[in-house]
Assembly symmetry: C2
Homo-oligomer: 191 residues x 2
């Protein structure tokens, strides 16, 4: 991580904040962790945390090295015609899962969420706040249905890319993207 | 496992067959493992394996201690009106996932499939042969779509019962079952 133009010592401070954040998110979950608390644990004030990362969400993304920041990607997915929301999400997810750079990170995240209750709890709070509630409210869709649509997407990516269940594993990307788009759109609209 | 009426030594033989089966399924996958090969590895003939377990599928179910045998449950799910297939599958899956006896086994299976490539490969071959192809062909649905429907089901169960994503985790069973039935039926019919 390059920090051109920053003063010496800033990288060390940044790293201390991330270490404190990882510990607090894991111990207390996403909801009950505050920027102020992270700062205190790292021996800096909240303004310093904001200076380095921005919001709590961004600290979380950096601390857990998430491959995407929902705050950055959601506006683009939510913009545009609602009847093509499924298509936009499918295209986005396929680009993440097809990439040899991001796929291993996503697989590791899934493993950690499924294998570790603490990780599951922390990620579910983050995912609910940063993705599900925000997208559901913006689209005017019940959160229950948005969460169900998200679960479909994860299930399909899991079957295709991780467990490699045929004929999903051998299908071409376009066919998977189309299936995913159709499923998401249906669940959002009426499922 | 009780084996009333069997001769002494039968339990030991049965156990040897299961040990050999586990080893061969893991090493060679489901497709390339034969009942004859399992028998040979356990020092018995194929008829003995059939006597104890029945088909290769049943050896697999016993060796991996699967909580359900697809050969036993599929006929009931496939019988009845096709437009209520989603409802039958949803009811069946909810009964498995809601039970404190079977849920831990399903979670362990998912963990193993996601965390271990060998387990994933073996399970995907079994799942494709014993569930997806059989159900798709019986319903006259493309296997791709049947597999997509199965992935949705696993995704929803994962979100509700393992990662516990809200509001899915807090919803009542009936609401989840209804959502699952709707999604599966749509994907089978048209998705």
């Amino acid at each position: 991580m390059k920090a051109a133009g920053r003063r010496p010592g800033e990288n060390a401070t940044r790293e201390e904040i991330l270490v404190a954040a990882r510990r607090l998110f894991a111990a207390n979950g996403y909801d009950r962790t505050t920027v102020r608390g992270i700062g205190a644990a790292a021996g800096v004030n909240a303004a310093m945390v904001h200076y380095f990362f921005g919001s709590k969400e961004q600290v979380f993304v950096a601390a857990l090295r998430l491959p995407v920041n929902p705050a950055q990607m959601l506006p683009a997915l939510l913009a545009g015609p609602r009847e093509r929301f499924g298509e936009r999400v499918a295209g986005f997810l396929m680009s993440l899962w097809s990439s040899p750079e991001t796929r291993p990170v996503l697989v590791a995240m899934l493993r950690s969420m499924i294998g570790n209750e603490q990780a599951a709890s922390m990620m579910q709070e983050f995912f609910r706040t940063a993705v599900i509630e925000r997208a559901a409210d913006a689209l005017g869709v019940p959160r229950f249905r948005l969460a169900a649509a998200a679960s479909q997407a994860v299930g399909l990516m899991l079957f295709r890319f991780v467990i490699a269940i045929e004929p999903l594993a051998a299908a071409d990307d376009a066919q998977i993207a189309e299936q995913l788009a159709t499923m998401i759109q249906y669940t959002i609209d009426a499922g």
